[in-house]
């Protein structure tokens, strides 16, 4: 998925980003961390496009995040339900 597609997809999700431009610093960061990689491909309709692709480290980070997120979500749910006092 190229940058414009990716940011537009994120922007269409409620509450994730305030504007499309705010995604690029985050993309820069995770690219610097090696979680995604980019490559250029020619577009028949205009200038070359920069595509983003997840790396092996990125998949690992995502898996790690999913585990932690699940734990975090369960904890918050428990607090909100009053299970934890």
């Amino acid at each position: 998925m190229y940058g414009f597609e990716l940011t537009r997809t994120l922007a269409e999700a409620d509450g994730l980003v305030t504007s499309e431009g705010t995604v690029y610093p985050l993309l820069t960061r995770i690219r610097e961390e090696g979680l995604v990689e980019t490559f250029w491909e020619q577009s028949p309709q205009g200038p070359a496009r920069r595509y983003y692709r997840i790396t092996r480290d990125g998949r690992r980070a995502l898996l790690n995040f999913k585990e932690q997120w699940s734990l975090f979500r369960d904890t918050v749910d428990s607090v909100l339900k009053g299970d934890i006092k």
């Binding site: 998925m1 705010t22 985050l26 960061r29 028949p44 983003y52």
Partner: protein
């Protein structure tokens, strides 16, 4: 002042504001962010039905206030810069105030992984078998077989398209098999001396792209243009097959060549071809995904 000049100036002004707002970042990071946003604008403009001032303003509006981008960068690129990688994920999940950023972070990874896996636009999936396009096959046989299978082999001797692959043996096919997205170019390098054609491998002549347009038909698009940058292949001959998102298998072979290629490169390709011919891999099968955006 033309409309294009006005639009370009509007974009330049916006990028200048973004750059100024990112003054706390390192020069390298600032350059990367501004370049990414500039690319985003270019990509967005190609999707516009009309490149007018209102449309450009809409693109810039959706990108947002440069101060918001700077605020995002201040967190993403400065606070995280000193973290050890092992600490980052733990810290990310704990910072409730930055929850949105964390979720966005994960969303990017999810989207990136989904697009690689081909989840976007995966139905229906159809297999196209191209049995003759294998190393060692004659280009003529590959062309004939494609035609029999309802596919269209073409050679481009820019800017003219001719329906004949010419002489030579297929030296290399990439991708040779597996799952490819709609619009993929399938490079088919052929060893042999071409005549009367020319092309720089990196070069896409606008007239060729224009000539592609009618062939693609309404609602079709080229999802990717892939070039093989290895000189030992591209400087000899290349076919490129484009898989169209059509209801019927449709495939175009693009031929590029440079008649002034060095003899040493030809020798190298011949050697590659000989090696591939001796192993003679199984027929090429490509799974083409259709029906949605990539």
């Amino acid at each position: 002042v033309s409309a294009n000049t006005t639009n370009d100036k509007m974009i330049d002004d916006y990028l200048d504001q973004v750059e100024a707002a990112l003054s706390t970042l390192s020069a390298s990071q600032r350059r990367q962010v501004v370049a990414s946003i500039s690319t985003h604008i270019d990509e967005a403009r190609t999707d516009l039905p009309e490149d007018n001032e209102a449309a450009i303003q809409e693109i810039l509006l959706r990108l947002g206030d440069p101060k918001d981008i700077a605020a995002s960068a201040a967190y993403d690129l400065t606070e995280s810069a000193n973290d050890e990688p092992a600490k980052r994920t733990r810290r990310l999940s704990r910072r409730s105030l930055k929850l949105v950023i964390v979720v966005t972070f994960a969303a990017i990874l999810v989207i990136a992984s989904l697009s690689v896996a081909g989840v976007f636009g995966t139905t229906p999936v159809r297999q196209i078998q191209i049995p003759y396009i294998a190393p060692g096959t004659t280009a003529a046989a590959a062309s004939a077989d494609l035609a029999q299978n309802g596919l269209q082999p073409w050679i481009v001797c820019e800017p003219v398209w001719i329906p004949n692959p010419g002489a030579g043996l297929v030296a290399i096919v990439a991708p040779s098999a597996g799952r490819v997205p709609t619009g993929t170019f399938i490079n088919i390098g052929v060893a042999g001396v071409p005549s009367g054609c020319h092309l720089h491998p990196h070069y896409v002549d606008p007239s060729v792209l224009r000539s592609l347009g009618p062939r693609l038909g309404p609602g079709m698009f080229l999802a990717e243009l892939k070039f093989n940058y290895k000189p030992e292949v591209t400087y000899v001959r290349n076919f490129m097959a484009i898989v169209y998102p059509d209801t019927r298998p449709s495939l175009t072979i693009r031929f590029v060549q440079n008649p002034t290629y060095p003899a040493a490169i030809n020798g190298l390709v011949t050697a590659i071809m000989g090696n591939l011919t001796s192993t003679r891999p199984s027929p090429v099968v490509l799974i083409v995904e259709e029906g949605g955006k990539r």
